[in-house]
Symmetry: none
Subunit: 236 residues, 2 copies
DNA sequence: GATTTTTTTCACACCTTCCTCACACCACCC
DNA sequence: GGGTGGTGTGAGGAAGGTGTGAAAAAAATC
């Protein structure tokens, strides 16, 4: 599969940065469309149906969150958010309404490309079956709700599966604590992270090879959690 | 077998989404009927006898669960549920009353098509093959309704076979208590788990090598039960 | 109608799941 | 160095679901 199959929409008001991004992506064989404003971005997204959207949060004409919400209403296309380090709350907000990942400015080329690859991988990978997760020694089949370890089956409780499933739906992407709590517990419980923390712990204990040093279920401090998969296991 | 054999009923109030669905399905050679309300949906389902129903849960005129219940009362047609919320409770509810699968909005075209294919495949391959179950020392032939143990035949009552059959239809997967009660006793009895618990007990007594420590007929606390098969017996 | 089988019901002990709490820890900032 | 906010940890307890044995009720059989 070649990168030329992928069309990426860049929504960025700064002309210079826009140009840098285009050059970087095109030199990696991605096809690129640009939009200088949020308004244009929404239109281009509808028109071109890109495979990935890279959107700056600091747009002059609209809140970044609005752009994301509009697109999310009809499409699951991965959205990568560019944010300045000072806009922490804005960033979390963007993730909450459906962005997939963020890159803080200034960023390095390899970093951005890695995020782009990860996001595209998530989108293209088997949407037909709930994924089989591979945690080194432990394998989780979310569809059948079975978890096999080296010494037989590992038992997960309903809520544990629910939390894991929320993370698995966006493998490799960030899931905010809000999203996790809302999806696993329900909106009433929003803001109460105690339960979540407990469940992350037991999940690590049951799944991670070394629970003290999480390798797959990693913390994104101040934001949420991210489920990583082995590169080898990701391709098939 | 061509897709044109299949008639799909879409029950969706949002005209735009309805149109998207129609286009998507028709471009894959499916035949399509539409209904804008739940009331219409029930009528169309009775009239056209579709091979698959795609129903939005968030209908304006009735609970999604009611639509499913009405249809399920007279037909085993596969029902695919569209859900805006990612909320588990909604989905569990839908599956409990008889939906076959769910897709959360927003969804991608390949994802929906994959679910449609899977649902139709499940429906067409019918209930022909009732598997031979192997419980270590006891073997059950559900088709012939015979159960052989180490010391001759073991006798199972009609209801015992029925409960076991429900579990066997979904070997390896979790079957909720509600599903079991609905399929073995009928919808009137839903919510009353006493009988089920009794039958699980006797089934274990008759089939398990060590009834105190279930190995094949295992409990999924808070959800239901699952029938596990031996590794060796699983492959064939 | 009597006997046997099957199904339903009940109460209680037991176990799992889930929630909660207090505190240790870590990174970062002043 | 001492905050400060967020996260990880272990243990305890409440709530509710599940297993159990036996006995009553219903249905099937002779």
């Amino acid at each position: 599969m070649t990168n030329a199959m992928f069309l990426i929409l860049i929504v960025e008001d700064d002309a210079e940065l826009r140009s840098i991004l285009r050059t970087l992506l095109e030199s990696n064989q991605y096809r690129v469309v640009e939009a200088a404003t949020g308004e244009r971005g929404i239109i281009e997204a509808r028109g071109h149906r890109p495979d990935l959207i890279i959107a700056d949060l600091g747009l002059p004409d609209m809140e970044g969150a609005r752009l994301i919400g509009e697109v999310r209403a009809y499409s699951p296309v991965p959205i990568l958010v560019l944010s300045a380090r000072t806009m922490e709350s804005e960033k979390i907000r963007a993730l909450d309404v459906g962005a997939d990942d963020y890159v803080t400015k200034p960023f390095s080329a390899p970093e951005l490309l890695a995020r782009v690859r990860a996001a595209l991988r998530r989108a293209t990978r088997g949407s037909d079956t709930l994924p089989l997760l591979n945690f080194g020694r432990v394998a989780v089949d979310l569809g059948a709700r079975t978890t096999m370890g080296p010494v037989g089956e590992v038992h997960l409780t309903p809520l544990e599966y629910r939390v894991l499933e929320c993370l698995a739906r966006r493998v490799g992407m960030i899931v905010t604590q809000k999203q996790l709590i809302r999806d696993a517990w329900g909106p009433e419980r929003m803001g109460d992270t105690r339960g979540l923390r407990s469940y992350i712990k037991t999940l690590r204990q049951k799944l991670e090879p070394d629970p003290g040093r999480p390798r797959y279920l990693v913390t994104e401090a101040g934001v949420g959690y991210r489920l990583r998969v082995d590169e080898a296991a990701a391709e098939r």
